[in-house]
Symmetry: C2
Subunit: 354 residues, 2 copies
């Protein structure tokens, strides 16, 4: 039996609750699908930091490297550990170290979920550059003699980095409705964003079957709200992708429904799967976190591992559950109830098909 | 009779249509209010650039400096003149040269306007830093020997620049519902945004009557869509403010309703008023551009000039017109019809009060 080894990092707060839920569902899907999932738990988190002084051990990256995939709940505990420590000590280094340059986030309404928009018929795939750009971490603070201190932050875009994410965007668009929207702010940022536009135009020549359009980030934010059904695949920089995917989460009903995959498309290192939501310490361990985004992220992991059928079964199960109004309203259903409903739907779905 | 001198820059495309409309309304309001408005037209635009090779004359800034205010329609004609020329040759230099450091944009639904959100009861004031930050224009392109070209773009924040916009935000919040939300991305941008947070915390000590909260830009974009009614005043950097105000325009029904003021709060140079929308060359001079955002921006100008009553009259006139369903749907009513309706409402309003 084919068995995949998964590094599980539940992290902080509700990260633990939803990872546990998602893991049960993924195991059930694996059982049905005739493959194995072997999970190894890593307690790397803010609690771990408070004990050891680091978010993960020095050889954390090397430990993770040998897994087939990484599943992350959520990290961060802002009241106790600064974000600069928690995120820059775990989440962001993993994305970079494993060249998970494509952060993929699907935005559509699950059946039964009411979003904040009147519009309901949208199906957007956001592709976010995940390793460089505005998150490069380059910058500093200069104290001037006159007291007018200066802080600078430098975004760094490389041709290799931009080209590969644009190409990835085109590939995704080709597999969908063949429309790619590239997002910049080249009317105000003359170096980074003009560069991005140039590279996009070059790569576009290889994908003449895909219709490509160029938006400024402000116009795209507006469009996602005014006419989301007009969009198919969006490709954007690290920061712009971050903003647009939270907006995408909002229009799909909230962070409880926002799944994500941090993909290394070249497969020379593991990819990482995580719900977009944070650790929400205020509702941690009350048993009321919505596990849907986590389970959906798990389905993306199965898909990436090549288990398309199982991934499809998990998605169908989620959809049949939300269609019945379970897990669609924040705080209404308990984590366990939603998880059990999804598990039952997987079993039923399998029985129907047999 | 007190008379204000206004520099009118209609600009490109629909900029001309809406400036003409707004100017009629402002003159009518001035007449009722017993003050004078003297407009001087400047043809600075992309058409001007094509004739002269510059968006405005060399001494353009000096010419504008002696006016009480500047009213701008819209600039840009991307098919003919690159944005880098049109915007960096006119709009952005004016904002900087006159230290119009506060870009103010109100976001609420006018009566009769249906927005894309189910939620309708919001009233947000966005304050955007308008002179530095991510729009500093610092950066460059480096060609590496290996073919991996690099583009860098440096955001520059100064203490003076951040402090004054935060203080301005607190002042606005104090005059409203006393809630200020400061927007950064300090969990990923460790220099610029951590600096902004620090300055905010310092300035907050002077405004203990105002409740201040800190959001990351991604979370704020989501909040504006999920719970806009929870927001009062937002203060953000140049780029983040740009994004949030287009989102604000979207939730208030579109760019046809989004007004803005570029304010020099110290009044040592003129402020500039402009609708947020672009020049929309495709519908220019067809007589169908919606002048409401332009007229609203004009009301903000009257307010800034100290003519509060007249500003209030213009706003009431706009609201009585949209409440009757005029100008509320893109393309339905002609520019002239909407303008005449607003003019009539100003006259009627004045008669009711007399
Ligand atoms: C926590 C934060 C650094 C992170 C990001 O901005 O990348 C998060 O918002 C996300 O979208 O995954
Ligand atoms: C045209 C562009 C440079 C401008 C900006 O980003 O400032 C516009 O989007 C705005 O919001 O006024």
């Amino acid at each position: 039996m084919k068995t995949y080894s998964i590094a599980l990092i539940p992290g902080d707060g509700v990260g633990k609750d939803v990872t546990q839920a998602a893991w049960q569902v993924l195991r059930a899907a694996a059982k049905r699908g005739g493959f194995g999932l072997e999970g190894t738990n890593f307690p790397w988190s803010c609690a771990y930091y408070r004990k050891t002084g680091a978010m993960m051990p020095k050889d954390g990256i090397e430990i993770l490297r040998k897994f087939d995939a990484i599943y992350l709940g959520s990290v961060g505990w802002p009241a106790e550990v600064p974000d600069a420590v928690s995120l820059h000590g775990l989440l962001l280094p993993i994305r970079k170290a494993f060249t998970q340059y494509a952060n993929i986030r699907p935005h559509r309404l699950l059946p039964g979920v009411q979003g904040p928009l009147r519009s309901e018929g949208f199906d957007i795939l956001c592709i976010r550059e995940n390793t460089e750009g505005e998150y490069s971490g380059a910058g500093g603070r200069v104290h001037s003699g006159t007291g007018n201190e200066v802080a600078v932050e430098t975004a760094i875009f490389t041709r290799v980095g931009v080209e590969r994410i644009i190409r990835f965007g085109f590939e995704q668009a080709r597999a969908r409705r063949k429309k790619l929207a590239s997002v910049t702010k080249s009317n105000a940022q003359k170096y980074s964003m003009v560069f991005w536009d140039e590279v996009t135009r070059e790569v576009a020549k290889e994908y003449r079957d895909v219709e490509v359009s160029h938006y400024h980030i402000d116009a795209m934010a507006a469009r996602m709200v005014m006419a989301p059904e007009s969009l198919d695949v969006i490709v954007a920089s690290n920061l712009f992708g971050d903003i647009l995917t939270d907006l995408g989460a909002a229009i799909q009903g909230g962070l409880g429904f926002a799944a994500s995959a941090n993909i290394n498309p070249d497969r020379e290192a593991p990819s990482m799967f995580e719900p977009v939501h944070g650790s929400a310490p205020d509702i941690a361990h009350l048993g009321i976190a919505n596990p849907i985004a986590a389970i959906w992220s798990g389905a993306m992991m199965l898909e990436h591992l090549g288990e398309r059928n199982a991934a499809g079964e998990v998605m169908s199960a989620i959809e049949s559950v939300t269609a019945r109004g379970i897990g669609t309203i924040a705080g209404k259903d308990r984590t366990e109830a939603i998880t059990q409903a999804v598990l039952a739907a997987i079993t039923e779905g399998a029985e129907e098909r047999s």
